[in-house]
Structure formats: structure tokens, C-alpha cells
């Protein structure tokens, strides 16, 4: 089991590096010039060149990338690098971008998890129901509902809900904050719409696929009542791909949060990003994106590990893989280091 996890973590590293590389490349090509911003508009060319050298901006692309990861120190200027928690310096606050991210991200996670929970709690049962009565009226209604949910822009849903329930029918507040659960109802429903639709449809098609399988026929032929067939035989098999979907939806939810938090004046990472976009604070934007990407990758790792625990087919292949891996490593070492 440990080997499986280690293997998965190792496979993560290139992906994470890739993400940081993309983020860095984007920072590199940004039109705004950090040296310029430091000095102001009326700087002499000599001072400008000096500042660029001091900031390490005259170094080759790849060197700068390494600095980005590991840090940079010069007489005048220094930063610790991404691997030590320094995601860049905000143009606006001139402080480490990471501070603001860290203080606001938990709120966003709170919202995203709420939305994910709602999507699953509503989406899965409806998907199952649709699958047991395919092409019936009920199924059609839910399918249209799901398609609508997947077609509406999340920020529009937010505004419509606020208009209807906060302005016209004053049931929920227009502004949300993490301490007041009642105020979270509208934002969570807003965020959940899209994921709910996706999960509903995926559950339905997964169930339909599973119900077609031979082992379902075997269960019926054994005389098991339909309820048991669905609950014990079909459902567990159908839910496994849904696990992956849920993990991916978490990423979509984090993205959706960016679009909706500001509308609800909710103090999460999304609001921070929207402000940063407005203020053209590129380091803040890119740093936040990088951070979310890393978190998302870790969430997917978690899903992978969960697979290893739940699905016996994966569990066993792990155990089987253990021995040959050890043997192969031994042989490799022998070949490299000696006869």
C-alpha cells in the first residue's frame, strides 16, 4: 500500500513542476516589468539596468525558473522561492502573495466542499432514480434539468438567485460570510448547480452501464430481489467512476468560486483574485492559480489513493506489483554498480 502511495506521489512531481513552469512562463511573458515598477517611470537607464541585475531579471530563462523555485538573493533584493512558500510579491501590497492566499483559501474550501456535498447528496440519488426508469417522464424531466444546470453561467445563476431571493423575496441575504450558515445557502446552491448536473448525468450513465453487465443478470437469476440487486450489486460498481468525477468537480468548484464569491461579497480566494484582476496585480493572480492547481492535484491524489482502498482490483495489483518491483530494482543496481 505504501508503495502504491509513494508511486502515485512520485508521478505527481512532474505534474506539479509542470504547473509551476507554466505559471512562471506566464509571469515571464507578462508585459509589465517588475524593475520598472520598482523604480517608477523616471528612472535613468543605468539605474534601470542595475535594478534588473539586482532583481535577477537579466539572467537566462531557465535560471530565472530555478530562482523562481529555489529563491534568489542579491545585495538589494531577495526572495525565498516557491518551494519555501514564496509565491511572488504582490504589485499592490508588496507582500508575499501567499499570505493573502492562505488567509482566504479556507473560506473558499468551505464553500466548495458545501457545494460538492450538495451536488452528491442530490445528484447521486436522482441519477440512480433516472437509471432505474430510463426514458420515463421522470427521467426526461431530470435530464432537461441537468442539461440546464450545465448550460447556465455560474455568475448568472448567482445574480438571478440574488435578484429573486434577496431582492424580491427577501428570504436570503445578498452577502455571504462563513460564520452565517443561512447566508451561505444561495452561494452554495449557485456553485452546486453545475456539479450537480454533471454528477446526476454521470451517475445515471454509470448505473445504466452497470445494469447492463452480466453479473447483474447473475444476481437476478440467483433470486435476489431487485432492491438488493441495485443496492448491493449495481450501486458500488456504479459509484466508483463517480468518485473520479467528484474529485474533478472539486476543481471546477474552486474555479466557479472565483466567479461567484465577489458577487456575494464572500471573503474567499475568489474575491481576492477578482480584486487582483481589477488591479492588474499579476503576481497575485498567478500565485493564486498556482496554489489552487497544487491543491487540486493533491485532491486528485487523494482520489487515487481512495481507489486503491476501495477497489479490490487495484488493491491486489498493488500487492502483486510489490515483488517484481523489488527484484527489478535489485537487478538494476547490480547492473549499474557492479558485476
Amino acid at each position: 500500500m505504501l508503495k502504491y502511495i509513494t508511486k502515485r506521489i512520485l508521478m505527481l512531481v512532474p505534474v506539479l513542476l509542470g504547473v509551476t513552469f507554466i505559471v512562471f512562463s506566464l509571469m515571464y511573458v507578462t508585459p509589465s516589468d517588475p524593475a520598472q515598477m520598482m523604480l517608477g517611470a523616471n528612472a535613468s537607464p543605468a539605474a534601470y539596468t542595475q535594478m534588473r541585475a539586482d532583481m535577477g531579471l537579466n539572467q537566462p530563462f531557465f535560471m530565472q525558473y530555478l530562482h523562481f523555485l529555489f529563491g534568489f538573493k542579491s545585495a538589494v533584493f531577495g526572495y525565498k522561492g516557491l518551494l519555501f512558500g514564496d509565491l511572488g510579491r504582490s504589485y499592490v501590497t508588496n507582500r508575499n502573495v501567499f499570505e493573502l492566499i492562505l488567509s482566504s483559501f479556507p473560506n473558499t474550501v468551505y464553500l466548495a466542499l458545501g457545494a460538492l456535498l450538495l451536488s452528491i447528496v442530490v445528484g447521486v440519488p436522482i441519477g440512480i432514480l433516472s437509471a432505474t426508469k430510463p426514458y420515463s417522464v421522470v427521467d426526461m424531466v431530470f435530464t432537461v434539468f441537468a442539461l440546464l444546470g450545465a448550460s447556465m453561467p455560474v455568475f448568472w445563476i448567482a445574480m438571478v438567485l440574488i435578484y429573486t431571493f434577496a431582492n424580491q423575496f427577501r428570504i436570503f441575504p445578498a452577502m455571504a460570510n462563513p460564520r452565517d450558515i443561512w447566508s451561505l445557502v444561495l452561494p452554495i446552491i449557485t456553485l452546486a448547480m453545475y456539479s450537480m448536473a454533471i454528477i446526476m448525468r454521470m451517475t445515471r450513465s454509470s448505473m445504466l452501464e452497470v445494469m447492463r453487465q452480466d453479473y447483474i443478470r447473475t444476481a437476478r437469476v440467483k433470486g435476489m430481489p431487485e432492491a438488493v440487486v441495485i443496492r448491493k450489486h449495481a450501486l458500488p460498481n456504479a459509484l466508483i467512476p463517480i468518485l473520479t468525477v467528484a474529485g474533478l468537480q472539486f476543481g471546477a468548484l474552486l474555479g466557479g468560486a472565483v466567479l461567484t464569491e465577489k458577487i456575494f461579497s464572500y471573503p474567499g480566494l475568489g474575491s481576492i483574485m477578482v480584486d487582483a484582476i481589477y488591479q492588474k496585480d499579476t503576481p497575485q493572480i498567478l500565485g493564486s492559480v498556482c496554489f489552487v492547481a497544487i491543491v487540486f492535484t493533491l485532491v486528485n491524489l487523494l482520489v487515487d489513493i481512495l481507489y486503491g482502498i476501495i477497489d479490490p482490483r487495484v488493491k491486489v495489483s498493488m500487492q502483486k506489483a510489490r515483488k517484481p518491483l523489488l527484484e527489478d530494482t535489485k537487478h538494476a543496481f547490480a547492473r549499474i554498480f557492479g558485476k
Binding site: 453487465q213 452480466d214 453479473y215 443478470r217 447473475t218 444476481a219 437476478r220 437469476v221 440467483k222 433470486g223 435476489m224 430481489p225 448491493k232 450489486h233 458500488p236 460498481n237 477497489d311 479490490p312 482490483r313 491486489v316
Partner: protein, 325 residues
């Protein structure tokens, strides 16, 4: 005259893409207690549909039993309530299918898949069910300490043994075996068949053994029926049908078997293909392929001719070339 399974005038249609597939056409068949009946036919003859009808498991809405009755121990299977038929399935009538690779639930251990049936039908405790599961595994030649393992950890042949263990766990009175060894290697086939035969003989189970392999029928069955285009075209004891086949289709099947003793360069298949089930021919369904078809054959549907328990559905039975024994 204890007939455990009596099918009379069964007609089953499937509706697909606006067309009607005539899967089974006015079929009558009966199986006595303790008999092993081999049902022989090509793919598409309707053998699986027949077996599924006996359990009232034809998939609605595409499939419908249009006419006829199926009686198990004198009770009309189609008239039973949902819970009654579920009590019969797995307990009194058990069925095993052709493809072992997909027949077992990948997420449940093999032991539990056996125990589940026992628990439901014998209404016993968890422990008793598990003990029986272990017992059944041993009986089919799998060590009981593998009961906690999952299907993908077993080979095809062993999976099929598990399927057989599940089927026989509650001592069914009737076993419907739908080509149980077709998907297995020849050597494994022999093992599994041996095991099945001894289990069946020990428990005196009646068996409907569906296969396309005449050799298997010869070794394991005491009665045989040939099925073509949804009908039984010949029926009798193995001695009667193998000794003196009377329907041209059966004769053709025997003729197409390669003969080790005769040196020849060509096999003798039956020319043509089975008719399109959405558009069956007039008269005898076999007439397009029959070497001795007459105008009568092509216009009038043949009736059953029975002699001494040997049934043939043909206008001119026994007129086709004799099988060289």
C-alpha cells in the same frame, strides 16, 4: 410421469428497431425429473431465450412472451408473483451462463457471492451460509481458504467453477446450463464437465444442458433435442437421435463432424445460414438449406411426428442420407 419442466406452445418475440424478432416459435418441450437433456443448436437458434423464459426473465419491454405456458413442477411460471418467482430462482431452478469472465461481481468476494444465495433461500445465519460457501468451493475443486478472494484473482476455468458452486449451493431441482464450458480451454472443459457430471449425479438434479457440441451431449446427457430457428426439430433419447437421426438438420450436424477415420480433404458443412429471425421463410424453416426439400416443405409448416418417444418436425423424416456410423 413427473415432468419437472413442461413448456407448451411457447412463442417469444423481441422488438428491436421497429422489427419483430421471432426468437421462439410454438415450442414444446418437457424435462422429467432426474433427466439430463442436451439442447443442441447453432448460435441464434433461441436456446438462451428458452432458458431465460423458464425463469420468466425475458427482458421487457423489448422481449415478450406472446403465447404458450411454462410449467415448473406444475406451476405456471409466468403467473407467479414477483416474490414467488424470486423464491424459485436460485433455489429450485438455477442457471449458469456461458461467459465466466463477466458473470461475477468484481467487488464482492467469491465466498460472499455464494453465501448470499444460501442466506436468502435457506434463511440461515451468516455463519451457516459461509460454511456452506466453503463447502461448495471445496466441492468444485477450489480450496476454501480462497473464499475471501475476488473474482479477478481467479482464472476463467476457476471462475466458472465458482459460478457452478453458486448455482448448486441450494440444491436446485433444475439446472439450466447455457453453454457452461464453451468459453473455456479444451483441457479445462473436460475437468469442469467431469466435476459437473459427478455433482449432478450425486444430487439427482434435472439438467437442461445447452450446447452446440455434440460430443458433450453424447457423454453427459440421456435425452437430446435439436433446436433450429426457435423450434425443436428433433427430440429423443441420445441412443435414438445419435443412432438414427431423422431430421435433415440433425443429420447435417452429424455429417459436418470431422471423421478421424476417413481420410478426406474437405469438411461437409450445412450450406447456407440460419434464416433471419425477423423474416422467417414460409413452410419449413429449414427448407432453404435442406438438400431434400420438396414443394410441400416450402409451403406447409411441418407437424411433429412421434414414434416411440422419438419426435421429428419434418415432412419427410429419415429420407436424408443416413449417417455413416
Amino acid at each position: 410421469m413427473d415432468e419437472i419442466l413442461k413448456i407448451s406452445g411457447l412463442t417469444v418475440h423481441y422488438h428491436s428497431d421497429g422489427q419483430v424478432v421471432h426468437a421462439i416459435n410454438d415450442l414444446s418441450l418437457s424435462l422429467r425429473k432426474g433427466e439430463v437433456l442436451g439442447l443442441v443448436g447453432e448460435t441464434g437458434a433461441g436456446k438462451t431465450t428458452l432458458a431465460l423464459s423458464s425463469l420468466n426473465m425475458i427482458q421487457a419491454p423489448q422481449g415478450r412472451v406472446v403465447a404458450g405456458t411454462i410449467e415448473f413442477e406444475g406451476r405456471d411460471v409466468r403467473a407467479l408473483s414477483r416474490s414467488d418467482i424470486q423464491k424459485i430462482r436460485g433455489k429450485d431452478i438455477a442457471m449458469i451462463f456461458q461467459d465466466p469472465m463477466t458473470a461475477l461481481n468484481p467487488l464482492i468476494s467469491v465466498g460472499e457471492q455464494i453465501a448470499e444465495t444460501v442466506r436468502r433461500h435457506e434463511k440461515c445465519t451468516q455463519n451457516k451460509a459461509w460454511a456452506r460457501a466453503d463447502e461448495m468451493l471445496e466441492m468444485v475443486g477450489i480450496p476454501a481458504d480462497r473464499a475471501d478472494e475476488y473474482p479477478h484473482q481467479f482464472s476463467g476455468g476457476m471462475k466458472q467453477r465458482v459460478v457452478i458452486a453458486i448455482a448448486l449451493a441450494c440444491n436446485p431441482k433444475l439446472l439450466l446450463a447455457d453453454e457452461p464450458t464453451t468459453a473455456l480451454d479444451v483441457t479445462i472443459q473436460a475437468q469442469v464437465l467431469d466435476m459437473m457430471s459427478s455433482l449432478i449425479r450425486k444430487s439427482d438434479t434435472s439438467v437442461l444442458f445447452i450446447t452446440h457440441d455434440l460430443g458433450i451431449v453424447a457423454e453427459n446427457c440421456n435425452k437430446v433435442a435439436t433446436m433450429y430457428a426457435g423450434e425443436i426439430v428433433e427430440f429423443g433419447t441420445v441412443e435414438q437421435v445419435f443412432g438414427a437421426p431423422r431430421h435433415p438438420y440433425t443429420i447435417g450436424l452429424f455429417n459436418s463432424l470431422p471423421d478421424f477415420d476417413v481420410v478426406s480433404s474437405r469438411l461437409k458443412p450445412i450450406p447456407g445460414l440460419m434464416p433471419d429471425p425477423t423474416c422467417l421463410p414460409e413452410g419449413c424453416y429449414f427448407s432453404p438449406r435442406c438438400p431434400d426439400a420438396t414443394d410441400l416443405c416450402r409451403s406447409a409448416h411441418p407437424v411433429d411426428l412421434i414414434e416411440d418417444g422419438h419426435l421429428v418436425k419434418c415432412h419427410h423424416p429419415g429420407s436424408a442420407k443416413e449417417v455413416v456410423a
